[in-house]
Symmetry: C2
Subunit: 254 residues, 2 copies
C-alpha cells in the first residue's frame, strides 16, 4: 500500500502572493484536495488531482473523508482560508481523529500554517494588534451566546484589542448587533473599530471609525472586525488613516 | 527624486518555506534591509542591497532610519521575524511616524504579514488555538507587570487559550515564574501547556505537559508558550501527542 498523508493547509486571505511555499509544495504533491467550495475553487485543476468541494457546515464529514483517503494511501490536502488552526479545519480534523477509528492512528498528519484574516486585516490597516489582543469567533453555532458576551466583557476589562471572526451571517443576523451593544457599553463611543472586508482581494474595503458609528450591517461573513484597546489610535495621512496600537502602556494607565 | 517606499515585512518563524511570495518580492526590489541582527542575517547579500543590522531594544532608532531612507527615495524593507504586526516592528514604525517629521507624511508604507510564532507553534502541536484565544507579550519592558497579571487572570476567567510571546529573558528571569504561578492558581494543575522552542528551525523542540509540571526554565526568548483553555485536550498517537482545542463548547460548560 502506498504511504498516504494528510496536510491541513492555510491558503491565506485570498491573494496568491500570501500562500506560503510550504503550502504550494504540498498542493503540488497532492492527489486529493478537500474543502469548502470557494477555497477549493482557488486550486488549479491538473491531471492526477481530485478536487472534493463541499458546502459549509459539513466540516466533520470533510475531515472523515480526508482521513479515510489518507489511510488508503492518498496524498490529501484539506484547504482552509487564512490559517487552518484559527476557527478552521485543523480542529475539525482532530475532532474526527479523536472520535474515529484506530485505522487512522498511524496517518502522517501535518498542519501547514497560513496568513490568518486578522493579521492580513491588521497589516492593511496599520498595526492594531501590535500589543496584547484576543481573537473571538462571533458565531454561536458551536457555543452558547452567553459565553460570547462573557468573553467580550472580560476582554474589554483586560483592555485587549479584539479581532472578531465570522461577525455576521444571514442565518445569524442579530448576534453582531448585540456584540456591538456590549462593546459600546464596555469600551465607550470613541474606541476605534476597523471593518476589513475581503482583505487582499479585488473586493477589499477597509473602514475605520469610532465605535458609536459602527452599524451591524457593516459586517458580513467576509468581514474581519477589529476593535482597538484603550491605547489604539489613528494617524491621519494624505493616503488615508493608519490604525495602530503602540507597543507600550504607561504605568498610570494600567 | 526617485520614489522611495517602506515595507515592514514578516519573515515567519525561521523556515524559508514559510516566507510569503509577497515578502520575497519586496526583498528582491529593496535597496535597504533594516532589522535586528539575527533577522537581517537571514537575508542573502546582493549587489545594490545595503543591510542595516542593529541590536535588540533600539526599535525606534531602526524605525526612524527606515523612514528617513524611504523619504530619501530608497526602497526599504524593515524585517521582523514572524508577523510584523504582532509584538514587532510595525507598531514601532507607526510610533516613530506619529511622533515624527512632516517630511514622512507622504511615504508609501506597507505592512506585509507573515506567519506569526503562535500559529507556527500551534500548527506543529496540532490546533490548540482552534477556538477563542488571546496573545500576551510577557515582557514587562514596556508595560507594568501588574497589567500582565491582570490580563492573565481575566484571560483565564474568559477561558481563552493563551499564547505567550517573550516568556523569559536573561534580563527578566523572574517574571515567567510569577506568570506560571498565576496560571496554575487560575487554571488548575491539569491544564495542558505547550513549550515550542525555535519552531520550524533545526533547533525545534516541542514539549507538552500538564501545568503543574511546567518549570520556568523550560522557556527562553526563542520559546512560544501556549496554555490551553478548559476544553483543550491531548490525543496520544504513536508519532507523538496532538494538542488541540475543539471548535465547540457545550452549553453546560459555558
Amino acid at each position: 500500500m502506498p504511504t498516504g498523508w494528510l496536510a491541513v493547509a492555510g491558503l491565506g486571505p485570498g491573494d496568491e502572493a500570501l500562500v506560503t511555499p510550504e503550502v504550494r509544495a504540498a498542493l503540488a504533491e497532492a492527489t486529493d484536495v478537500i474543502g469548502y467550495i470557494p477555497y477549493v475553487a482557488r486550486i488549479a485543476p491538473r491531471e492526477g488531482l481530485v478536487l472534493h468541494s463541499s458546502d459549509n457546515r459539513v466540516e466533520l464529514d470533510r475531515a472523515k473523508l480526508a482521513l479515510n483517503l489518507a489511510a488508503q494511501g492518498r496524498k490529501v490536502v484539506v484547504v482552509s482560508s487564512g490559517d487552518p488552526g484559527v476557527f478552521a479545519m485543523a480542529a475539525a480534523v482532530f475532532e474526527a481523529l479523536e472520535a474515529g477509528a484506530g485505522a487512522w492512528q498511524d496517518i502522517d498528519i501535518r498542519v501547514l500554517p497560513g496568513i490568518t484574516a486578522m493579521l492580513a486585516a491588521s497589516a492593511r490597516a496599520g498595526a492594531p494588534l501590535g500589543h496584547d489582543f484576543c481573537a473571538i469567533n462571533l458565531s454561536d453555532n458551536l457555543k452558547p451566546w452567553s459565553l460570547i458576551e462573557k468573553r467580550l466583557r472580560l476582554a474589554a476589562e483586560a483592555d485587549f484589542a479584539m479581532a472578531f471572526y465570522n461577525p455576521r451571517s444571514k442565518s445569524r443576523p442579530q448576534g453582531f448587533a448585540r456584540a456591538l451593544a456590549v462593546l459600546q457599553e464596555a469600551c465607550g463611543d470613541d474606541r476605534p473599530v476597523l471593518f476589513a472586508r475581503a482583505v487582499s482581494t479585488a473586493d477589499e474595503v477597509l473602514r475605520i471609525m469610532p465605535l458609536d458609528k459602527a452599524q451591524p450591517d457593516m459586517a458580513d461573513m467576509r468581514t474581519m472586525v477589529i476593535v482597538g484597546s484603550s491605547q489604539t489610535r489613528i494617524i491621519e495621512r494624505p493616503a488615508g488613516p493608519v490604525l495602530y496600537t503602540p507597543r507600550s502602556v504607561p504605568e498610570m494607565v494600567a
